[in-house]
Each structure stands twice: as structure tokens, then as C-alpha cells.
């Protein structure tokens, strides 16, 4: 079967954008086109998948066609992919499958979200819309609340407390401070992060990702055309995905995400590697407790040892077992919902090609993982990428 590689990847800076939807997407697409080493024309694109949740109420229908119209992709078969915060992780998987199936050779996967163009009251639009609305939101739960329930239960079941989450926040801010594309480019001290404003007890402001605008775009190619574009492709070695019950109260456990465990198991099996082979991972840390649980669900730490993993700095850039969230993660780089999944691919594409500056490059990076979660874990896409084809 055909192998698939990433040959180009680009994104906007994440943050509070003056640009509108079309402008952000065009910027991300142009950055992706220009990142291709060889000659590349948008006319070579066979298919496109663009992830997004919503647009604050604007342009809900045929969004993807509007975006391709403004990025020189007229006529390309395109659709919007929606799986909450995992929208573009699944767009990337769909693009990979399109090439695997033999129906396409060059495919674009991307994502976009514009979240900050609403008034403060209307911005509540985004709160908790990807949970089981009828039962969870009407119990007062937004995602800070949902993940707070997980955190408190985790502290109850295992040897862990809020300090472990503070370590994750401090780490990701330290990484993000070196990333010029990050939403929040500043370090925070342990004391400041520990004493943050309480958003949803026990989670503070420093446990929560910001509300970001942003877009990201990735170009995938079949093995028989890769050479046209680059001599240093990043190969997609494994793609795993899974789903779980939407509501937290319908799951046997709220201290692990079954969808993450199953998706990563499939991605590892497909790529023929184990968690120990991963040099860097972009992990879905919408909340710090999400990263803590993911280190276990992805196999970097034993069950119940995620707190110790964080406490001991084992995810720090070039210092631990595996560099986790060299970009700053959702916590610091930002979380423009639909753009996050392919934004993670942009980061590992650059890392695996040794193109990251400012002291943020992961040394000897050969193999990377991306982990993109929808909502509180109802959907998850995990990808393993590497410099080597297999």
C-alpha cells in the first residue's frame, strides 16, 4: 500500500487576530505552500479537508469552499471536518486515508477557528458546546468544569495534587515563551501558576488554555510523488483514532481517556514502535490535567504515575524521557479549536526537519507523536511521524 508523507506545513500565529477567517486561512495556506522545498502549485492538490467547529454563528454552511476559494484551490473537492477540538486531527487522518486509498496523490489538511470576534457575553457561545449539552451543560458544566471533575477524582485516586498540574503549566509556558507563533509567549513562575484565579475548582487560570484565533495547513503526498516536492519528507508512520461516550458520566472511569489509549495503541501498532521510541510529542493539553492523563494513556508513564512524571520534569525540552509540547502546547501556544490538530503537525514537521530556532529544537528528533482530543475525550486522533519511512 502507498506510503504518505508530509511535504509542507504552515500556520498563522495563534492569538487574538485582526485578520478574518479568509485572511487567516490564506496566510496559513501560503505558509504551507512556501514551506515546500521544490516547485509546488496549488493546482496540484487533488483533495482538501478543513477542520473547524463553528464560526461564532457566521458562515456555518460551506465554510470549506469559501476558504479554498480564497487560497487558490478553486475546484478542489473540499469539505469541513467537525469533531470538536479534534477536527483537524481527523482532517489530517482523512487526508492520509484519501492517499492510502489510491484516490489522491496530493491532499491538503488544515484547520481554522476564529473565536475572539465576539462580545464577552456572546463569547459564552464556545463554552461547553462539545459536551453532552443536554445533560452536562445544563448541570452547569463547561469544559473547565468537566476537566476539574477529572482532576479532583484523579487526586483522590492517585498520589497526586494540584502542584503536579502547576509543573505542567510552568513547563509549557517555558516552551511557548520561545515560540514566536505562540499565543502566550511568556514564562510563568511556579508560585504565580499555583496562585492563579480559580476558574473551576481545583483548576486555575494557569491550568486552562487560552481562547485563540488561528489557522494551520499541511500538505500530504503519496510516496511516488514525494520526490517532486522534497528530499526531506516527514513520513506518516501510523494513524490511530477512536471514540468514546460523549458524556463523562457514561464512562467507566473519569481519570483516563479510553479514546486516547485505543487511538495510540493503533498508531503504535501501525508504525511498529513503542512509546519509548518517541522523541517528542505534541499532546492535547487543553487543561493541564489533560496532559497529565495523556502521559499515561499514551504510554509515557504508568497508570497513576502521571503526577510523578510531571513533578520530575520528564517532559521538559531535551531534559526528560520525551519532550512534551515543545511548541508550548495548547496551554501556551494556544487553542484555536479546529486548527489545533494540524497545528500540532506543523510543529513536529519542523522539529523532525531540524528547522526550529531559538533554542526550542528537540535534539536528534527522529520520531514524533501528535495527540488531538475532541471535547472531554469523545474523539481522539493520534499520529506517529518520523524522518524514516519505516
Amino acid at each position: 500500500m502507498v506510503d504518505v508523507a508530509v511535504v509542507g506545513a504552515g500556520q498563522t500565529k495563534y492569538g487574538n487576530h485582526a485578520l478574518g477567517l479568509k485572511g487567516m486561512w490564506a496566510e496559513a495556506a501560503l505558509n504551507a505552500f512556501e514551506s515546500v522545498d521544490g516547485d509546488f502549485s496549488p493546482s496540484q492538490i487533488d483533495e482538501a479537508f478543513i477542520g473547524s467547529i463553528a464560526f461564532g454563528g457566521s458562515q456555518l454552511g460551506n465554510t470549506a469552499a469559501l476558504l479554498t476559494e480564497h487560497s487558490a484551490m478553486d475546484g478542489v473537492p473540499v469539505r469541513r471536518v467537525e469533531n470538536a477540538c479534534a477536527s483537524s486531527g481527523f482532517a489530517f487522518r482523512d487526508a492520509w486515508m484519501a492517499i492510502k486509498s489510491g484516490q489522491a496523490d496530493v491532499v491538503v489538511a488544515g484547520g481554522i477557528e476564529k473565536m475572539n470576534d465576539l462580545t464577552p457575553e456572546r463569547k459564552r457561545f464556545w463554552l461547553g458546546v462539545s459536551g453532552d449539552t443536554e445533560w452536562e451543560r445544563l448541570a452547569g458544566l463547561t469544559f473547565p468544569g468537566t476537566y476539574a471533575l477529572m482532576a479532583r477524582r484523579y487526586f483522590h485516586e492517585f498520589d497526586s495534587n494540584h502542584d503536579d498540574l502547576v509543573h505542567i503549566s510552568v513547563k509549557n509556558h517555558a516552551h511557548g515563551a520561545m515560540n514566536p507563533l505562540a499565543h502566550i509567549q511568556k514564562q510563568v513562575s511556579f508560585e504565580k501558576a499555583a496562585g492563579g484565579f480559580m476558574v473551576a475548582d481545583p483548576l486555575t487560570l494557569y491550568d486552562c488554555c487560552p481562547t485563540s484565533d488561528g489557522a494551520s495547513c499541511v500538505i500530504l503526498a503519496a510516496d511516488h510523488v514525494v520526490k517532486q516536492f522534497t528530499d526531506t519528507p516527514v513520513w506518516v508512520r501510523g494513524s490511530g483514532a477512536s471514540s468514546d461516550r460523549l458524556a463523562l458520566h457514561d464512562r467507566p472511569s473519569i481519570t483516563q481517556l479510553k479514546a486516547t489509549a485505543e487511538a495510540s495503541k493503533r498508531a503504535y501498532q501501525q508504525s511498529g514502535i513503542t512509546p519509548r521510541d518517541i522523541d517528542l510529542a505534541e499532546v492535547h493539553d487543553c487543561f493541564t490535567i489533560a496532559e497529565l492523563m495523556a502521559t499515561e494513556d499514551l504510554g509515557f508513564a504508568q497508570r497513576g504515575q502521571g503526577g510523578a512524571f510531571a513533578r520530575e520534569g520528564r517532559g521538559m525540552l531535551n531534559q526528560g524521557d520525551v519532550t512534551i509540547n515543545s511548541s508550548g502546547g495548547l496551554k501556551s501556544k494556544g487553542h484555536p479549536l479546529g486548527a489545533t490538530g494540524t497545528g500540532q503537525i506543523v510543529e513536529v514537521f519542523k522539529q523532525l526537519r531540524g528547522q526550529v530556532a531559538d533554542g526550542r529544537q528537540v535534539r536528534d528528533a527522529e520520531t514524533a507523536l501528535t495527540h488531538n482530543v475532541g471535547g472531554s475525550g469523545a474523539t481522539c486522533a493520534v499520529h506517529v511521524l518520523g524522518r524514516e519511512r519505516q
Binding site: 459564552r124 463554552l127 443536554e134 452536562e136 471533575l149 477524582r153 458520566h249 457514561d250
Partner: protein, 277 residues
């Protein structure tokens, strides 16, 4: 025991064989007033639930104006009398203007006791909460983002108010599913015991409250939500009641009571809330 006084579902209770009186425990000066998430409908449901707990079988009652009949039926599975069925009903639900309801056997003369216990509410708080509900009840008030339509709300109404679930083989399921594990419709109704233990909890800051609660959350100092392991097996998430202290801990025993949840498009949405027992 054939009569008594007590606290029932967070309300004051007096009863004998012929009646149940339910009264709000709150007062403002000389006036008895409702708590932050109660009204005549929630008191009426509590009164009916009390008679059921005594072993009475009540198939229909006549309701006074001021009680939402469809919510009452969803919560209790008891029909509300209309003109054609009024004579066959043996119980009447009466309301007083002092946050009181009485469920009484028809044609029985009763003398109601004075219930002494009450809590003086802060007048400013009480006015602010009442004002917030008034705004929330305006026709144009619609939640941002996660819109739950009337039909969607009503579809889950019995599960939401009466904790009605389904039996799939040996598995008790709540909230109910449209199809069972074999792909068949499952219409059987199993009412779960409305008690459980706190497996986790959180208190959401007012600033981050979803728009359904954005007018009242600042007055309440945030929203407290519990994740419950229900005594019958299923799990659920519930707001705690607004008018009692909610110093929640994992392991606490909680009972579920019907209260106001929020209002949208001129309609109050009721549901179950937790209170520590």
C-alpha cells in the same frame, strides 16, 4: 406514626393521613418567600413525592393555578385533572400566597399547623435573584451556543425530573438511550432511587458560567456541580441546590430534588439538583 413535622426535600413538612403541607423555610421580614431555585411547582412535586413515600397511591390530582402541570406529571407520573376527570380525582393541590402548598384529600376539613422553623434571607440577595429570574424569563433570552430546544428538553423530561432509566438485561441505564444494545426500541421505564455519593465535584467561577446561568451565577458566587455515583449504579452530573450551603466532599451522600434549573424563551426549565443529606 400518622402525623408529624420534618424537613423534606429541603422544605418544611407537616402531614397526617389526610394532607401534606410543604412550605419554604425562608422568610423576608414577616413574609414567607421561595428560595433561589424554588417555586410552587417544585413544592407541589415535593408534596406528591411525600404522599408516595407514605405508601399512598395517587393516580390524579387537581392542581391550583401557579403549578406547571406538564412538569408536575413528568416528575411524578401522576395525571393532572381536567374538567372531564376532576370528579374522579381524590386529591387537591392548593397553594397559599406564602410559599406554601397543601396536598389534601378532597372534602376533608383540616387545620394546618404553624411551622416555626425558617431562615431569614438577605433582602438584597432575594430581590437580585428574583430580578435575575425575571430577566431570564423574557421571551428573547436564549442561551449562547448550546441551545436546547423545547422538544429536546421535553424528550428528556421524565429522565431529567423522575430519574427514569432503562433496564438493558442486567444493566440499568440512565439517561435512557433511543435504542438498546440490540438495536431495538426500549420504552420500559425504571425509576432510579434519587440518592448517591459524590465521586467528584467542582465549583465553576461566575465569570465562566454558561449563558444559561450568567445572570444568576454572580449572585450565587459560582455554580457547584457534583459527579454522583447513584445508589442504583448509573452515574450523573447535577447542579447542587442554590439555597443551601454546599460544602461538598468526595464521598458525601446526596439526594436529588426537583428545582428550577434555568429559563429560556419564557419557559422555566426544571430538573434534578443535589442536596447533601
Amino acid at each position: 406514626m400518622t402525623s408529624g413535622t420534618d424537613v423534606w426535600k429541603g422544605y418544611l413538612l407537616a402531614w397526617d393521613e389526610t394532607y401534606t403541607l410543604i412550605q419554604s423555610p425562608f422568610s423576608k421580614g414577616d413574609d414567607r418567600v421561595f428560595g433561589a431555585d424554588s417555586d410552587y411547582t417544585t413544592l407541589a412535586i415535593a408534596a406528591l413525592q411525600h404522599r408516595v413515600s407514605l405508601g399512598d397511591t395517587i393516580e390524579c390530582i387537581s392542581l391550583a393555578e401557579g403549578v406547571n402541570g406538564s412538569i408536575f406529571t413528568m416528575a411524578t407520573d401522576v395525571d393532572v385533572a381536567d374538567e372531564s376527570t376532576y370528579d374522579s380525582c381524590k386529591w387537591d393541590l392548593l397553594i397559599g400566597d406564602d410559599a406554601t402548598v397543601v396536598l389534601v384529600q378532597r372534602d376533608v376539613q383540616i387545620e394546618l399547623p404553624e411551622l416555626e422553623t425558617f431562615v431569614e434571607v438577605d433582602e438584597d440577595f432575594q430581590l437580585a435573584i428574583a430580578g435575575a429570574w425575571e430577566k431570564e424569563l423574557q421571551e428573547a433570552h436564549v442561551s449562547q451556543g448550546a441551545y436546547v430546544s423545547s422538544s429536546q428538553y421535553n424528550e428528556g423530561g421524565v429522565a431529567r425530573m423522575a430519574l427514569s432509566g432503562q433496564q438493558f438485561g442486567e444493566l440499568l441505564v440512565w439517561p435512557p438511550r433511543q435504542l438498546n444494545e440490540k438495536g431495538d426500541r426500549e420504552d420500559g421505564r425504571v425509576s432510579l432511587t434519587p440518592t448517591g455519593n459524590v465521586a467528584s465535584w467542582t465549583k465553576l467561577s461566575a465569570a465562566g458560567a454558561p449563558s444559561e446561568f450568567s445572570l444568576r451565577a454572580p449572585l450565587l458566587g459560582g455554580l457547584t456541580t457534583v459527579f454522583l455515583d447513584l445508589d442504583d449504579g448509573p452515574k450523573g452530573v447535577f447542579l447542587m441546590v442554590d439555597d443551601e450551603e454546599n460544602d461538598v466532599n468526595i464521598g458525601d451522600a446526596v439526594e436529588l430534588v426537583v428545582r428550577r434549573i434555568y429559563a429560556q424563551e419564557g419557559m422555566i426549565r426544571y430538573g434534578l439538583r443535589g442536596r447533601i443529606i
